[in-house]
């Protein structure tokens, strides 16, 4: 029996010890009428070899297109050592470190992770992960409401340059809790928050202001001004950041005069493959003063009976298994294995390595923009400083272009025409350090072809 070790003899011995006539008898407390008759939709068992063949066929069907899509999930080089270690059974097949003494490996690693993320974001404390960047933002909004006792409005200000999915997820998650979101427009031509619309809120009761840096368009916001404005207006500040960008850019802990209050984001750029969308992990760091409002697991260093250093889950009184309906969040299982990958990844790359990856990604994106905007009719939507994404405007329908690119085995970017209709045929592109100059040329040639073709056809 696949994965079941019982021999016939053992089954008999065990039933005898139980005093049950058959395995079926073990289910005699279940009303007979309820017992399953058949499971028609489940196919017959496959051997490992057969399922391997099936999965390989499925994978090959999708192939390995050349990717220029970012929008919250980025293709980076991952050292071979990372997943070789992550998939070691001792990490892979352990669970939440409830028995600290038997889980020092996981616990120490998480403590190291907390240390790294705190330093990277310029904050004092970090939790041990949330599900993903989007849900981390939702949790941050809820946390801000808890942390900011003086604000009664539960009103969160977000720029429309925030990743739209992050806003959708936040809306869905806080839906039952009377939070409201005020969405502020961006400056056209610049693609950054229209500051005047923020200033128009002066004097209102705002619980928190969310800033994404770099924003969804890849542009850099004036985070210092926004942070200071928010604090001056008694709102907390929640930063949404790409952790890789922090190798180059000022950490949220240093934005404005006193830094932000909560930092969240998706840790995927650190050692986590694109993997069709997940598992990734959400991170969250904050100031010490808010630590008791933070959701998620937190690991602390302590000592054992002999005074020796050790690590353990701490501040559990915030969590659902203790506080139940009054917990900071319902989160229980988080994304430990991905954090394991990220911690190893950060250790292998170091600050210098991450800086170089970030700089190279930025350079490759600049080159890509340069090449693509040479195509007649293709232009940059926004000026200003950017990281490794950019919005292009095309002379033709983006959907058509992306389909044609896919046929050439290129994933060309994200179609923004539904999300931001005012931008017209807008395409969000990204190149990381994994895209060579030759890759950029491949894209440029294909796009030239396609755009010219469509333009001519439309004539």
């Amino acid at each position: 029996m696949p994965f079941i070790p019982h021999t016939e003899t053992e089954i008999s011995e065990m039933l005898a010890a139980i005093g049950a006539p058959s395995i079926d008898a073990l289910f005699d407390e279940i009303p007979a009428a309820l017992r399953i008759k058949s499971l028609a939709a489940i196919p017959d068992a496959l051997s490992e070899m057969e399922v391997g063949r099936l999965m390989q066929a499925r994978a090959s069907q999708d192939g390995r297109p050349l990717n220029f899509l970012g929008a919250g999930a980025y293709e980076h080089h991952i050292p071979a050592a990372v997943w070789a270690i992550v998939t070691r059974g001792e990490f892979y097949s352990a669970y939440t470190p409830y028995q600290a003494e038997a889980s020092q490996g996981t616990l120490q690693l998480l403590y190291e992770y907390q240390s790294m993320m705190s330093s990277l974001t310029g904050m004092e404390v970090s939790n041990a992960s949330l599900y993903d960047g989007a849900s981390a933002l939702a949790e941050a909004c809820l946390m801000a409401v808890r942390a900011h006792r003086k604000s009664k409005s539960a009103r969160i200000v977000v720029p429309s340059t925030l990743n739209p999915t992050y806003l959708s997820v936040s809306r869905a998650v806080v839906e039952g809790q009377n939070l409201s979101f005020t969405v502020l427009p961006y400056e056209s031509g610049k693609g950054t928050l229209q500051f005047s619309t923020l200033e128009a809120l002066k004097g209102e009761d705002l619980t928190a202001v969310v800033i994404q840096q770099p924003n969804f368009f890849g542009q850099m916001e004036d985070v210092d001004a926004i942070t200071d404005w928010a604090h001056a207006n008694n709102a907390l500040v929640i930063a949404v950041v790409n952790p890789l960008s922090l190798a180059l850019f000022k950490p949220p802990g240093e934005w404005g005069t006193k830094g932000v209050d909560i930092v969240v984001g998706d840790g995927q750029p650190f050692g986590v493959p694109l993997s069709s969308g997940g598992p990734y992990f959400g991170f969250m760091t904050t100031r010490m003063e808010h630590v008791r409002q933070m959701p998620g697991r937190i690991i602390g260093r302590t000592v054992d009976l002999d005074g020796k250093q050790g690590f353990t889950l701490t501040l559990q009184a915030r969590e659902q298994h203790i506080r139940r309906s009054k917990a900071t969040s319902n989160i229980c299982t988080n994304q430990g294995l991905l954090v394991t990958a990220a911690t190893i990844h950060m250790s292998l790359l170091g600050a210098a390595g991450l800086e170089s990856v970030a700089a190279t990604s930025q350079r490759q994106t600049s080159k890509l923009i340069e090449k693509l905007t040479r195509i007649p009719g293709v232009k940059l939507a926004f000026d200003g400083y950017r990281f490794h994404e950019a919005v292009l405007q095309l002379p033709v329908k983006v959907r058509e272009v992306l389909d044609a690119l896919a046929e050439r085995n290129i994933v060309g970017g994200l179609d923004l025409s539904n999300l931001y209709p005012e931008l017209g045929n807008a395409l969000l592109v990204c190149a990381t350090e994994t895209r060579t100059d030759a890759d950029l040329d491949t894209y440029a040639i294909a796009l030239t072809d396609i755009v010219t073709g469509v333009v001519e056809r439309n004539r």
């Binding site: 070790p5 309820l34 997820v169 180059l248 069709s276 992990f281 009976l305 002999d306 319902n330 950060m346």
Partner: protein, 489 residues
């Protein structure tokens, strides 16, 4: 399992050291002053060998399924087939961008679509969404759908969620997150729900009830049909916490019991790895009434073509719960697992997890341990209580748990569920061999003897692990959450 501690990675760090082969050389960014980072983050500066050695050594400080029997109740620590990992990590799946066009995603979508279909079948539900990223998020989706259902019917007063006292903490926490009020009802001494209390709790404000069946007490709620009728008659819906689905997989389906919505912990019942705390996946299944509210995206099929379904297809959806579509890699592992088990294998899951649990219970009872529900069948797990030992010998459940570690067994879940004093919740799972169970019983018997002869020995446990018992109180009082936070290095 190593007993030798490893210094923090920061201790291996030296300024200027680095694994240079891991990043591109030469690029420097021109960052305007106002955006520029002034001081590099305090990440470790180590060589590749140092990182590999450090984390390899850390790994050896863990108990895990791959190295130890790990009967952690309610967590279903069964074997995670290596094939699931291998096939979910094929480079094409790993390299696929979540927003890549459907035309280059048909293979991936086919797996997800079939997974939805299989999960519908094993739960008896009408629709499935795979997007929740863990059990608790699945619960959230479930309760949010119940709320949306009542709202859509303009039944706006229904804001109470009934939760038995035995429920997992995520249940009440979820209800709160969904803006509901929690109404707790007690369990009877035999482990069943107190039907009278339930009747008392039901009313026009009842949005629904959250149940685990078998409950976290390790017993099957026998009057589930009656419960379902009562709740439905009161206008509420029934939520099934599927964390314990392993107990009934292939034997009975929540849909047939009358539940309207279920979340499944794919990382438990469908054996994707637990990863030291995650990732999990909390796919939700719903009956007819909740179909319109499923979280997006789900996978649909037009002819031979798979595609994502979104707000256009499910206009009443409770929305998105993750930036993309949930923990895709976990879903692929669950899919591989289900295909390897097949129809017959599905039936065997509950059978052999029940056989192992009942055998273990029988042996422990015979050895003189106190079952919390001695008259009941164990489901896939069961509870013993150390109340007597705590009182008579001063050796409590935690002491037994810690001493078990010295014997090479991971401890069962301790002090949960909260209503059984000094309890150990024991879940052996179907993939453990009889001799492991026997060894575990022998260890508990030996510890009992130790407790009788030398209680201090048991209370001082563990002795053979990298650290002895840790001071949790100090951890919470003198917070030390990052390297450098406390000067006492």
């Amino acid at each position: 399992m190593s007993h030798i501690s490893e210094p923090l990675i920061f201790k291996h760090s030296r300024t200027g050291r680095s694994a240079v082969g891991q990043y591109p050389q030469g690029a420097t960014a021109q960052v305007p002053e106002k955006f520029r980072r002034r001081k590099r983050a305090a990440l470790p500066e180590v060589s590749e060998l140092q990182a590999v050695r450090h984390f390899t050594r850390l790994s050896q400080l863990n108990f895990s399924i791959d190295t130890h029997f790990y009967p952690l109740g309610s967590c279903t620590m069964k074997y995670n087939p290596r094939a699931c990992n291998a096939f979910a990590m094929l480079p094409e799946f790993l390299g696929r961008h979540p927003l890549a066009p459907d035309s280059v995603s048909q293979g991936f979508l086919a797996c997800l679509y079939e997974l939805q279909e299989m999960l519908k079948d094993v739960t008896g539900m009408k629709g499935v969404s795979l997007t929740p990223m863990a059990g608790a998020q699945g619960e959230f989706a479930g309760v949010a759908m119940i709320r949306a259902y009542h709202k859509a019917r303009n039944d706006l007063e229904r804001t109470e969620i009934i939760v038995p006292d035995a429920a997992h903490g995520t249940n009440p926490a979820t209800a709160t997150m969904c803006g509901c009020t929690v109404v707790e009802i007690p369990s009877l001494p035999n482990g069943d729900i107190d039907i009278d209390a339930l009747k008392g709790a039901l009313g026009p404000k009842t949005a629904g009830i959250m149940l685990t069946n078998p409950s976290t007490l390790g017993v099957f709620e026998r009057r589930i049909q009656e419960v379902a009728k009562l709740v439905h008659d009161a206008g509420g819906l029934l939520y099934y916490d599927g964390a314990n689905l392993n107990a009934i997989l292939g034997k009975v389906r929540p849909g047939d019991m009358g539940f309207d919505v279920i979340h499944m912990n794919l990382h438990k019942t469908f054996s994707t790895p637990h990863g030291g705390g995650g990732p999990g996946s909390g796919a939700v299944g719903v009956g007819q009434r909740l179909l319109p509210f499923l979280p997006i995206p789900t996978v649909g099929k037009d002819g031979d073509n798979y595609r994502w379904l979104d707000e256009k297809d499910v206009p009443q959806t409770i929305g998105r719960l993750s930036a993309f579509m949930g923990n895709a890699g976990v879903l692929l592992r669950a899919y591989v697992y289900m295909r390897m088990l097949g129809r017959e294998g599905m039936h065997r899951v509950a059978e052999f997890s029940a056989l192992n649990a009942n055998y273990l219970l029988a042996r422990l009872k015979k050895a003189g341990f106190d079952a919390a529900y001695p008259e009941r069948r164990a489901s896939h797990e069961f509870i013993i209580t150390m109340k007597r030992q705590a009182k008579e010998l001063g050796v409590n459940a935690m002491d037994f748990a810690k001493r078990l570690l010295d014997y090479g067994y991971h401890a069962p879940t301790t002090y949960f569920p909260l209503l059984v004093p000094e309890c150990l919740l024991i879940e052996p799972t179907e993939t453990e061999a009889k001799e492991e169970l026997d060894g575990f019983v022998d260890a508990l018997i030996a510890i009992q003897a130790e407790a009788e002869q030398d209680a201090a020995k048991v209370k001082g446990a563990p002795y053979t692990l990298p650290v002895r018992r840790l001071d949790d109180v100090r951890a919470a009082k003198q917070l030390d959450l990052t390297y450098g936070m406390r000067s006492t290095e």
